[in-house]
Assembly symmetry: C2
Homo-oligomer: 346 residues x 2
DNA sequence: GTTAGCACTCTCGGTCAATGAGTGCTAACT
DNA sequence: AGTTAGCACTCATTGACCGAGAGTGCTAAC
């Protein structure tokens, strides 16, 4: 539905209703519209138009004798066609740019994404979600084994996404650093460019047969892989959950509890955010377009971030269907782009 | 106040009131007590005793013509003297033991503590807090520098707490692995056993002068330290925030918002939990004994965990003053001990 | 096609009385 | 002297009721 299917006057009214409702959280009536925006129309006319809009499914009434609010269909039309682009304020712009200043470079993925989550939730005043780069698709760039005391070896794995993982291994034999260097070189030659996803038992078996010359290496490898496998999971950073309490629709504890239970369950969040990766760039999910039966009357705005044309993860905002789409879209889009740039520098 | 300052009958009544109130969240009246626990006393007698207890500050009334609830002083007496030891149920015991099974050994500090937080909040049904081992006091065990592509060096730092940190450095010069090995050896000889806290600019300056022979090393060192310094912060893992919504005293959104804002602010949590480290073992903070003006009507139960007699961090539960102390104390204590054991195995 | 007018609907806030839980006090009981 | 029955009193809670206000749909006039 990206076609203008409504005549201009109906569009104007739908837009006004949506804007007003987003701002006030109150159903908006014909009188209010006539008063606030002088469309040169009487309340009665507006009433007629609104009745039409309700019949064709763009508006709805919480109860007779209340004003109208947009239906999901109405929001969809609003978002696709009517919504006016918003600009970031100078403050917002400065804030985001400051946080993504290349001077802040070190400090690893984890803290960058956590910071990104904080930025988004602070500006939008909604809870934010950041999906980490998908480890499954990361490729080995470098493996290094370091001898520690006794039977301990520290495995260091660097992926092409810049992701660094260290794994403390207990080995059946005590290796010298020289041996480990050889093993490292061997592993590097075999694994360079292989993705964590491809790297199933097949590759492992092959490695093991080829590596029989090193005593006990098979077991060590197995351990390395088991640990790596556990880290293979995507992660989500959440921030600003508390913001949702500012929204009047969540004043009833029950509604809020439902949403919080989702925000605390990483698995559900992963489901939500993984949808976002399917289509690069910006996405808006309104109401039941979010594929989760336990999310009620919520919408989600997401944008993917990428490096060298490769989609890594996504930045998202979860809020009530009555969220300030124009603002959120602008923020999410800009932050995702800033994050992409920031990561490219590395 | 660990003396029995009340006569047995008053004690019994204080205990019954507290137990009942903890269970029901409703002020408890004389009639209820006479009915439920047959003390062989009439409501009138109980009323007299309760009036005495109120006068001496152990009980209070939310309003005239309501039942009594324990005051903070009453809770304190209850916790110190009256509370009956609870046993863990078999299910709880099995659950905890299963999670701390040494077979689950790998996977690093982070995930262990996160899991611990989950265990505690799931069993107690209150939000849980886990304070990480204090990086300030960790001592260097091992430093290793690995050459990556071009001007990048990966610094690997292992602390005696088992904490492993990796830091990607951009160096002004491209080092060969041989050079790096020498530098590593040099750093190891200098830093082994030094704690992160001691490691101020003093040590740094000394290192820099001694290390002038390596071109550009000074800057690199500085960078390494700056990054390490940023990691020096204690961390807190929180889980089960949502549980607090089950408590009737947080049904009003405002109360809940206050608590949530604390649980989302790491700095405040650190303040709270750092108190716990002062005294090893179990601690109970009731009401204003928690040193934070924004926490209202809450109590905290904490227990330290340790390895080789050295206190590393603490396990805690934050709940309403009306929390089930007996249960929480048992759980927190046992989990802290299990965690200590688990960490010792490493 | 637009609008004024009007009857109607529904929510919200406030008042009022009834209810019930619980208390404190006094006087009688053991 | 400690215990208890009885009674008057207090206070929060609940449900019924009412009026005000916002908004609608419909009809008839413009």
């Amino acid at each position: 539905m990206t076609r203008r299917e409504l005549d201009p006057r109906k569009e104007k009214i739908l837009q006004v209703v949506t804007d007003d409702y987003i701002e006030s959280a109150e159903p908006v009536g014909s009188r209010t519209i006539a008063r606030k925006h002088n469309l040169g129309l009487s309340p009665a006319t507006i009433r007629n138009e609104m009745a039409d809009l309700e019949e064709s499914g763009y508006l709805k009434q919480p109860h007779t004798s209340a004003g109208r609010i947009p239906s999901h269909r109405g929001y969809r039309y609003y978002v696709n066609i009517l919504m006016e682009q918003k600009q970031l304020t100078n403050d917002e712009l400065a804030f985001i740019k400051g946080e993504f200043d290349p001077k802040n470079k070190p400090a690893g993925y984890e803290s960058i994404l956590q910071r990104t989550a904080k930025i988004v939730s602070e500006i939008t005043k909604y809870p934010s979600l950041i999906l980490t780069p998908r480890p499954q698709e990361a490729r080995f760039r470098h493996i290094h084994l370091v001898a520690m005391d006794g039977n301990h070896v520290l495995g260091l794995v660097v992926m092409d996404t810049g992701f660094v993982e260290n794994i403390l291994l207990e080995t059946p034999v005590a290796y010298t650093q020289d041996e480990l260097n050889k093993i490292s070189a061997f592993l590097n030659s075999k694994l360079h460019g292989v993705s964590l996803g491809e790297f199933g038992t097949g590759v492992l078996n092959q490695l093991q047969t080829e590596a029989q010359s090193w005593e006990g290496l098979g077991d060590t490898l197995q351990l390395l892989l088991a640990t790596l496998d556990r880290k293979k999971q995507d992660r989500i950073y959440v921030d600003g959950t508390i913001n949702i309490l500012e929204q009047p629709e969540f004043k009833q504890v029950e509604k809020f509890k439902l949403l919080l239970s989702i925000l605390e369950e990483e698995e559900k969040l992963l489901n939500l955010m993984n949808q976002a990766l399917q289509k690069r760039g910006l996405n808006i999910y309104i109401g039941e377009e979010i594929n989760d039966e336990s999310v009620e009357d919520c919408s989600m705005v997401t944008a993917t971030y990428e490096v060298d044309g490769k989609v890594l993860g996504a930045v998202g905002v979860l809020g009530p269907t009555r969220m300030d789409y124009a603002h959120v879209v602008t923020v999410v889009d800009f932050v995702a782009k800033s994050l992409s740039n920031f990561l490219k520098e590395k």
